[in-house]
Structure formats: C-alpha cells, structure tokens
Subunit: 344 residues, 4 copies
C-alpha cells in the first residue's frame, strides 16, 4: 500500500513541480493538496498542463488532517511557512518545509537577514537541514526537515569536500551564481516581466541575499570552521537552473589528482552528484535531481575553481524534498527520481 | 522478459529523445545503438547529459543483427534512411522509420517534393503511416512504419475530425505553423545560429515545404477527398514544439456544440489527444506525447479555427515512434509515455 | 529654432521609445514630459538607461500648457487618452494620440469592441488616422491624429495595394500575426511573466481582439469595400516586432509580376516601406520605422500570401508618431527616423 | 569635406556594426568596403537589413588603396589581420585593427596564448592599445591602433581606477564575465547552435581564454604592477553584451565614499563611462558605446566588488573603433556615437 502524503500550497512552481514528481512516484500517493486562495478548483485549473494527468480538487488546509498523511510538504513562502509548522506542532505527520524559515541556526540570525520577526522559535530545535549528501542520518528520523535553498544546495555541495578537508582557505569563499527566473516565484513582478529579463542579464541582491548566511552557517556547521561567504546572484534569461562558479584559495600545495580524489571519495555514495570532466551546463540537469560538479586547479594563478549546476526547482526544491521523503520513509533515496534531463 | 529493440542513429535529437523515453520504458530493452561516425564512443560521450544514465557503447550498424532486436528504430535523415530499409528488407525485425522516405504515396511524389531520387521503390508497398489515432489497426501488424513528420502530426490531427465528416471545404486548407528550432536538426547551420534565431521570427519554406504534400496526401487518404493544403512554417526562438493555427471554411451551417461533439467523439479513445477549452501553448505539452487541440467557430466571419500544439521531438517524432512500437508489440499504447510536461 | 513638443505619459514603452527618437531629432525639442505617478522624479529615474542622455524632470500634466508646445504626444492607454483629448479640446497645440480611442468610425463601434463607454464622442470628427502611406494629405493639417495600432499598421500596409485594386476577395481576409511582448505594455502581468513567455508560444484574443475592427474599418474606408477580417494574434518570446502572415484569395487571374508591379507602384514614394525578395524577419526592422513587405503567389493553391514585418514600438507606435509629426510640421517625413536596424 | 575611410572585412558582426555607426557619422564617408569571399555582391546582399540604407558593392582588398582612405578598419579574425597589417606597412592610411594580433606585449606572448605563430613581429613597435580612457594621447598620433578585446574593455575599465591607486591587491584579480553570443562571431558552429545556447548557460575557456593575458598585460602596463588575473567567461543566451563581476581585495582600510571618489575622478572626462548607483544590466547599454560601472564595498567580508556592462559589439568592438578614429582625426571623441540604448 502506498504511503499517504499531503501538499500544502498548490499554486507555486515548487508545488506543481512536486506534483510532477510525486504523481509518478511508485511508493506514495497524494491524498490531499491545499490552497486557500483557489480551494474548490481543480489542480489542473491552476496548472492547465496537468489536464488528464492530475485533476485533484484543491482543499483548504483545514481538511489536511482528515486524510491522515504520513508526510506533509509545505510549498509555501517564508514567513507563511512558520505559521503552519507551529500549527502542526502536535500533528501525527512529519513535515518537509520548502521555505527558509527553519534553515538557519536561530531566530535571531533569521531576523537579521530576513528582516522580519520569527513567530515560532520552538521549531528550530527539531529542524534538520535537508541536504541528504551531508545529513542523511539526521534526516531519517526527522519530524521537521528544512529543505535547503536553491543557491545553497549548489554552493554547499561544491565547497564542502575541499573545505571539510581543510584544503581551502575559509575566507573569503567567493560564490558567483547565475539563476533562472523560476527561483523568483510564480507571481508576476517587475523584475520578472519578460522584457526586463529577455536578452538581458544583471546581478541582484549583492551583499544582502539571504542565501549568503544559509551557505555560511551550513559550511561552518559541517566543516567546523568560521567562514566568510561572498555570494553574488545574477538573473539569467532562462526558466530553470543555477550555475555557481566558486573561487577557492588552497591552504597549501595541491594538484588536480588530489582534488579529484577528494570529490570522488566524498560523493561515492551520492546517486545525484555527478563529477564531470568539463564544466556542466544548465540543460545537462534540466528537470532532474542531479547536481553536476566540475573542479579544476589553475597552476598559473594558484586558485581552485569549482562549477556546480542544478535545476533550482528539482535538486534545488521539489526533487530534493522527495529525496528527503524517500530517506524518511526508508526507501531508496532515488525512488521516483529517475527523470532524464530534457535537453534540449 | 523485456523486448529487445535497436536504434540506428544515435547522434541526432530524435535519437537522444528516443533513448530518453526508452531507457525508462518498463517493457523494452535497448540492446544496441549505432553510429557510423562515432562508433566506439559511448552514447554519453555524444550526449553528456546521459552520464550515469545511459552509457552504452555505440556500434556500427553491421553489429545490429547480432543482437536480434524485434524492433529497430531508424533515427536517420531522409535519403539515408531508405538505404537502410532496403538493406534490412529481409531481416527478422520490424522497422520504425523516422524519416520522410516512405510516408508519401509513391516514389514519384517523393522525388517531385524532395528533389532527389528514391532508391527503394519496393519499400512503399509495406509502409504504414504511423499516426496511431488514424491507423492503429494497420500499425499493429506493420513491418515498416513510416513515422509521421512533426508538422503533419499536428495538422492532420487538427483537421481530420471535421474533414472526414465533410464539414469543411477541401480547399484551401490553411495551416499556419510555428516551430521550435530542434525540428531543424542537431547540426549547426546558418539558420540555426543563435543570433539569427533569438529575439527573431520569420516564415520559411513558403509554398515548397515537403510536409505540405504529406499533410495533403494523408488527409486525402483518410477523408477520401482531394484537398489543397496551404502550409506555411515559421521559425520560433524556442527549442521544442509546434503550434499550428488552422483556418477552415465550413461547408454548411455549423455551431460550436456540433464541432465540440465531433472532436470529442473522434478522439474518445485517443489517450494522447487533449481537447482544450482555450488555446494551448507549447509548454503545455513540452516533453510529452500529447497533442492538445483547441477549436472555435467565429460567427462573425463564418470561419472555423483549430489550434494544435505538440512537442515536435515527442509526439512529432520519438514519442509517436514509441506509441507505434507499443501498438506493434500489443502493449497499451501509452506504456512508457506517461511523462508530465516540464513547465516552466 | 526648434519646434517645441510635449509628451504626456513617460513611464510606458511608447513614451521611452518616443524619447529615444526625439532626443536625437534635429528639428524638435522636448519641452515637457509628464507623469502623474512619478512627477518630480527624473525621466532617467524611471528609465535608468537614459542616464546622461535625457534627465528632464517629469511634471504633472497641468504644467503642459505653460511650455507652449506645438505638438503634444499622448502616450497613454486607451480609456485614459480620451479624457486628455477632451481636456485639450481648446488648447493651441495639435495632438498625436497613441491610443485606440479615436481610431474607429464612431463611439458605438468603439464601445462594442472595447467594452467600455466612450466619454468624448466629439473627438471623432477631427481625428485623422495616422498612417502616412495612406492618409498623408489629411495628416498635414490634422489637429488630432489617431496613431494606428501596431497590428493594423502591418496588416493594412500588407493588404491595401491588392485590395484597393480589387485584386483580392474581400472575405475572409486572414491575418495571422505574431507579436513581441512589448505590445502588452510595461506593466508586469501574468501573461508577460518571463516563465510564461520564454520558450513558449500561443495564440490569444482569437475572434475578439480590438485590432480586428480597426483593420477592417480602415480597409473598408480606403478601398471602398466591406471586408471581413479574421485576425489571430500570437505571443512570441521576443521583445519587439510583429510578423503578419496574410492569406488572400485573388478575384481573378494573377501572377507574380503583376503583384510585384502593384506593390512597387503603390509604395514608390513611401520611404519606410521596403519590398523584399524573400520573407523578412523581425530583426530586419528592429529599432527602425521600416515596414518590410514580401508577397508571393502560390500557383499550386491559387492563394496570394503577403508577409509584413514591423517593430511594434517604432513603425507600430513611436516612430510612426514622429513620421506623422514631421508631416504635420512640413518636414521631410523621414527626418530623425534614420535609425539602422540593430541586428543582431 | 568628409574624411574617407575604408573597411576590410564586411561579412562579420563587427563589420556590419561598424557600418551601422559610420553610415550615420557626420564627418566620415565609407569609400570602400571589402570582402574576398563575397566581392561583387552588395553589402546588403550579405546583410539584408541594410537594404535601402547601405548598398555599396563589396570589393576585393586590392582596390582599397585606389580610394585613398585616411583610416582603414580591419574587421578580421586574428591570424588573418596580421597579414594585412604587414601588407599595408607602407601605405598612406592609418589602421584600426579589431583583432588580437597586436594587443599583447610581444610575438612570444601572443604565440603562447594564441597557439599560433605570429608573422609580423615588426607591427608590435607601432601598435597602440586603443582604449581611449587610458591611452588617449598615444591614440591621437597612432598609425596602428590595436582595438581592445571585448572582455578586456569591461574588465580593465572596472579595475584600473582602484589598481592604479594601489588600493587593491594585485593577485588574484577575479573577473567572472558573462557574454552574449555575438562575441563568438557570425559563423555557425556547434557551441552557438540555438538549442545549445537557448535556456542554457555555462562557463567556457576556463584558465586558457586569450583575453586573460590581454587584461593582465594592460593592467600591468597602466598600473606598473605585476598582476595575476583569474578570468572566467560564461556564455549567456543573449545576443549582445558583457557583464563582468569583479572581486577585489583592498590593500588597506577603505570605504564606499573613498571608492566612489576614485571612480568619479578617474572618469570625469570620459563621456562613455557612466558610474551607476545600482548594478547595470545588459540592456542599459545595448547598441551604445557606454561602459556602465557599479562599485560596492562589503564591510562584512572586506571585499570590493565592481560590475561593468558593455555592448561587446559597440564599446567592445566597433564603437570603440569609431571612438579611436575620432581621436585620431581630432574630432570630439563622441562624434557619431550618440546612440540611445535600445531597451527593451
């Protein structure tokens, strides 16, 4: 019998992407999907491309517990998500939260970077950071998984192998990232108006982007260090995907072979990390849960460069959430995640 | 035990798209995939996004028969394909040919539209036009399936229900189509150079495109008429997909309800045709085998308009080929074709 | 001394495009530019790419008459524009109105297609349709020029030469148009959200688009006929430009040479119409006031096809307005309009 | 009387862009434009969007000297250009060379980065690096101007003000650049095939791109230092433009005001450098000769970041060449370069 899962938040990109994956997952069944604003309509009214595929009626969140799901995904914006985590504190299901509300170390750090109050400090003690390549054991038994941000996923997976071996200097870790537009959400706004994006390109959120502190805190936690991350996102005229170009200063002598062995070894049991012999492109991972990683050492300059590519909606959101769910349910972590890249 | 299939032609878009589908198909197994130019390399050397997914070594076509496939796909350009159909005339496998070499009524028609000689006239007598919504019974036992062209698929599925009921005038049938760039193939050329396509748009092949005669002959055959098709393709700055906007003149009084009933009835057993209440867009079908159809009648002008959307690499090529294969093997025709649209 | 001109409406695309042209126009000077919502800010605050180029302070419209402009451009949405035309009824300047408010024959027709009341019926009697290739004499002395819609410009210029000679059937005139996103305006909305447009394509406004009646009424007026226009717009993933593919039924025997002579003769004194030996593309006219026209006759089907290309913001809006202004001021109509296409 | 200029190389993007600018330049006249491969055809046959604008017949280069130009532009690839510089060694005209053949310090450096022999070592002694913001005096009297590379233009203009004041560490200077496709040239190749670029993104030429050494040598020359430049280009799915994100380590205490004053002062007489209060985007400079520069200091990390934006075909090629020409001819350096950005 399939495991029952519920989804809170149907109208956004991460919600529809989650349905895209779960509707073909062999071991789980979506028993409810909620939307306050569109309750009573069908999921395929909101996302017409799901016609004939998934036409479940959207319900208000109040009906969630009637369905007795084992796992509930919160595909909600930050600030909203914490309210639901609080509300569900004593429910019987386990939660995978897509938002940034419980990813950081404390409500204080949250408030200083998100510029808003945190209403459920009690959630932090249970929250596990849902990056399976680093925290698999903790995820297995978690009742609240804070699904990682899209930029942090690619940045942390790119830096950790070298940093955890003390092979690179802790400051500054320069992460120059370029993202597709879906990272900005389903709602039309000025910065995502087609003529403002198409045939265009620019950095944004320099010095202040919230994912900076997420990357930094997780690296510090995993590697036992105190890093300084310089993170600069840029907006690409593409739908999906993030390329992060990372510049690292070795702490001592190093060479390509040694670097290669560190990455190979670190990820030997990670089915979604592919170490690549040349720089990956966005379309190499489009629609999939892969994180492609390229590393190289420039003898002329003495710097190491690492390039990572993910699909921000899959490995950066819904796919990673399903990977976490699989681990929580004791399934093979790649169950239902065998999508082949759509390329071109 | 899975059915053995082979693929001739690995380097093009239709070849890689076919692998994308077949590698997850539950009932078949790719036993060989050939390339003359890249034999000895791995499939994932040619298409790096298949790393860790499908790394079979490419073989010359000479090794095909050793593997005893039941079905062989020819993912080759026209003109080349006919040579292989001829060569395999007495082989034990059945062929699904992606090219235009055996889609038309005769070598003479072929030569007049393709402007080249046909070297295997004998193939025409066995060839079945592989559009399952119209020719399912013939496909079941076919030894040579001529997989339809991308434009004809959307055009014929859009026009046939009304035309076969004599509800629309046979001339001229105006098909104004807009296609993504992958229809032009994997090989770089001037017309597909990024700066010539991006932020640009234009018609091409007006009056002379070979799919004109393919649409016209199949409509004539299915509907027992003698149509005149005016087909105008345009090149969109997108990767995949074809929208065809079709203008039809009713032969008599008609209304929306009657039209709706004709389409509903015609496609009631067609799992890949979705009749839509509003015009479809390319992303509604991206990566899938669906043909979305919208129809409307303009009382002011007296014209019927039909809009169809397909993914040219799936319903317009590899997906349709797998649908044909399923029928030939006695499987449910949608086996392995449950892809959800990648949108956005 | 340069002629003084004013612009009402600074924040939209047509406003900024008008400034792009006028700021380099040798014979006129922008003396005021207004915005109610952003008054007090600089034009380059609203459009930062004008930094160091045009930094005039935006004023409320109330200060317009102090500057004593000879010509005022209304770069406003329909419905708003009529209010200003009414308000300026007795002013000393002549008006070029970008909106659709005074393009049609009567307030009644307006109301039936625009689905809103018209508040200044008195404006219609003075309004001249500002398509210089057809109404140059009327424009010279006009006090109110209704600058044509973007789609009508390309459609009417494509059809008129043949229709006015009674060479083509009056019904139905099929105009299948494809437009860039800027036609939809500067304001972010769901249909122009990048992920809804990029790598996508679809028709919209089928049967009901307001430009249908504009095309039809002007053709009827110019050609003394009573046409039926079937107009279908589609949204392209490009910023600028409109391609219209037009299908016409000849009324009698015709051939390519005869058609060519009709177009050549009709446009021999039109500096912005270029008759092309092959179909034009959007980038051929990008940033310019050209209308490129290709015509062909298909002997096989008996249909004539005409393809026109314009930049919707230039020949379809701001450039055409400047052309009209030049005519009104007795200047050479191409003054200040010598932009070379930006291609690629 | 206008100054006579000639252009060698008509078929590429820099050639057509140069004509776009010069054909409207008030002080010069194109007297000849050459192409060996298309001699005898018109310029507008090669670039149809120039129909009615510039239809000069292309000539073989042998006819160049008959026209007695004062300035000749070589819009040729590297490796070819050096042959023409050699051939014209004793001619009466001055040369502006678009290629990389004479930008570096010596033939030896050229050979080690370009991986090909240099056939005219004698050219180096006369060559002046044509970046007017740094070398205006030298350009005035130059007989051979080596027009800068597109990436170096943005990188050098971004770094020089701080580096020349010893405010930033000389190694490593990290330049993370993102370029449009036209930088790769007019010729179709695999990497510029539309489906390989659209909705995609990736780095290329890591560690080995030739512009690395050009940036490094010019910085060393201007600033009297010995820098190490880490330059990583990435390919954007856009036609034109380069954004460079530059990471610099201050040598001592510094603050935003001090940085701002350094840039303001350095560029106070540079008409094409715009210091911006927020990060520029590609469309802010599209079609123009501007270099937009944004600088910021991150107190948290201690790093300075500089972002520059140029149009690679204008400030990165043809526009800069015209700016150099103006200086060589004693004209105001912005003559004929008053293009307004085409945005959107």
């Amino acid at each position: 019998m399939k495991t029952k899962v519920g989804i809170v938040g149907a109208t956004g990109y991460t919600g529809s992407e989650l349905v895209r994956i779960l509707v073909r997952h062999p071991e789980v069944e979506i028993v409810t999907i909620t939307s306050e604003s569109r309750a009573g309509e069908k999921f395929s009214d909101v996302h017409p491309f799901f016609r004939n595929i998934f036409e479940m009626e959207l319900e208000p969140v109040s009906s969630l517990e009637n369905q007795q799901p084992e796992i509930v995904f919160l595909a909600l914006p930050h600030g909203i998500s914490m309210e639901y985590v609080k509300r569900f504190e004593n429910s019987n299901f386990r939660i995978i939260d897509f938002s940034g509300d419980f990813r950081l170390d404390s409500p204080e750090v949250y408030e200083s970077w998100y510029k808003k109050d945190h209403s459920f400090a009690g959630g932090f003690k249970n929250a596990v950071y849902g990056l399976p390549e680093l925290f698999r054991a903790e995820i297995e038994n978690a009742t609240l998984v804070a699904n990682p941000g899209c930029f942090p996923t690619g940045a942390i997976l790119g830096i950790t192998p070298l940093l955890s071996e003390n092979k690179v200097s802790i400051k500054p870790l320069i992460v120059d990232s370029k993202t597709g537009v879906t990272g900005s959400g389903v709602k039309a706004k000025n910065v995502t108006h087609f003529p403002n994006v198409s045939d265009n390109f620019k950095p944004y959120g320099m010095k202040t982007h919230r994912h900076t502190i997420e990357i930094q805190q997780i690296l510090d936690q995993v590697c036992g260090t105190s890093t300084t991350v310089q993170f600069t996102p840029h907006l690409l005229p593409v739908d999906r995907g993030i390329i992060s170009t990372i510049y690292l200063q070795p702490t001592g002598e190093i060479n390509e072979d040694e670097i290669a062995e560190i990455y190979r070894s670190f990820y030997q049991e990670a089915p979604f990390v592919r170490i690549c012999p040349s720089p990956p492109s966005l379309k190499d991972v489009r629609g999939t849960n892969y994180c492609d990683i390229y590393h190289t050492f420039d003898e002329r300059t003495g710097l190491i460069m690492v390039v990572t590519a993910i699909d921000n909606l899959v490995k950066g959101a819904a796919g990673q959430a399903v990977q976490n769910m699989n681990i929580m349910l004791g399934l093979d972590q790649s169950t239902g995640l065998h999508q082949v890249p759509l390329n071109p």
